[in-house]
Symmetry: C2
Subunit: 233 residues, 2 copies
DNA sequence: TGTACATCAGTGAACGCGCGTTCACTGATGTAC
DNA sequence: TGTACATCAGTGAACGCGCGTTCACTGATGTAC
């Protein structure tokens, strides 16, 4: 009974996965706005109404894809960090590795990247479920900087007085124990990193930057410096 | 006759402008993907086919909106710079003013911002016409940094050797006369600035950064530092 | 082990909707002589 | 100044298309006794 019920359940899991895979393929081909339940069903040889057994609406399918995308880039970041740590990399090496992993993931999954870091999909509002997975990459960076801080410490210029309360609050909210200077610098660096990747991915570097990998490594190094990670390590 | 022909031409200009205005309003209400010729026509009390007298296709209307958006943010940046310059602001003050102007424009025109700096519109490829207007903001920053460089000079760390050829090429292409260190830092700063604005606008700062204006000013100051603009001036 | 019943995946038709674009047309405005 | 002609903005109907979602249904799979 647990095995037979398991059979039906396993089938359900497989079909759900197949729907998401096909949806991801369509996302890559056409973009989020053109993602349609009917087209996904057609491609899978199902009738469109059958998809409603798996996703109650188009928006729920979108949400599932968004959660998966956050998890996918989060896992890529965590793995890059773990690998570097295992190879005795210091905080700066880990920082660079994670930046590179985010960029590599984005280049491999441009439409999933656009889904989570690009312009919001019109008419769609992200539900609560996306919050947890959304923070995995940021948490990886926090971990790196925390390790550096607890090691040799981080030297950062003092915060402007106006920002201090906000930085203290942010620190308490999601990076307790870090100095507020570090938290503020980290949030800025994270936004700036996404700016770099988005520019490359969305074509803003066309006719401007040719050697993108080298340029990205340079800019990621700048960001590391911005959060107080020195050139060594 | 020049006046009569002028009458017809003036009417044409007015209707063209009305179409673009209405399209912009719909952009703000629904986003680029939902922009439809039929809806614009409906709103203007015209029949949809009439729009084809003014724009040969939906994509051409989009292109016109994109060009206008680039010009609009470009003008905002240039004006902020000119005002600061007129008030005897130094390069750093000008930098901060232009960063703030870009952010302010983005907050006022979120969908037009998304149109030019967000994820690309699926199925649309920008024609040549957009290149010129697209560079107005960047050119404003180049002008500021050039003034600083030709004044007291800018102290920046040396470039990584691998990036030098690329930085030299970029300099020759669009910032001749600047040291390559400055060009590279400037391009990175520009991408990072857009990252900051996008995070705020696209909701990535929800539950993270509350006091966005203060945070932005802090981050823009960091960017100024990154291109060698010191705290004075 | 066998039977009666419940669950649930998938079907096929239908609903009402909006879209971009084409085309032959009307009628007003502008031009040439 | 008046007339014949050309230009061109706007009309209305039509084309073919795809979409999300609902609903009553069939038939296979699983469950309880």
């Amino acid at each position: 009974m647990s095995t037979t019920r398991g059979a039906r359940e396993r089938a359900r899991i497989e079909v759900t996965a197949a729907i998401k895979d096909e949806a991801r393929r369509m996302l890559a081909a056409e973009g989020a706005a053109k993602l349609s339940l009917r087209a996904v069903a057609r491609e899978l040889g199902m009738v469109s109404s059958a998809l409603y057994r798996y996703f109650p609406s188009r928006d729920d399918l979108l949400t599932a894809l968004i959660v998966d995308a956050y998890d996918s880039v989060g896992a890529a970041a965590e793995q890059a960090d773990a690998r570097t740590l295992a190879a005795d990399g210091g905080p700066r090496a880990r920082w660079m590795a994670v930046c590179g992993a985010v960029r590599a993931w984005a280049l491999e999954h441009p439409h999933e990247y656009a889904l989570i870091y690009g312009s919001p999909v019109p008419g769609y509002t992200a539900p609560q479920d996306t919050i947890g997975p959304a923070s995995r990459v940021a948490n990886t960076f926090i971990g790196i900087v925390r390790a550096a801080y607890e090691g040799r410490g981080l030297a950062l210029p003092p915060l402007p007085a106006e920002l201090r309360p906000e930085a203290v609050r942010m620190t308490a909210d999601f990076a307790p124990g870090l100095p507020p200077e570090v938290t503020a610098a980290l949030v800025a660096a994270w936004a700036q990193l996404v700016g770099l990747v988005s520019f490359e991915l969305f074509g803003q570097f066309n006719r401007v930057v040719e050697d993108r990998a080298t340029f990205f490594a340079y800019a990621a190094g700048q960001l590391a410096h911005g959060v107080g990670l020195s050139t060594t390590g």
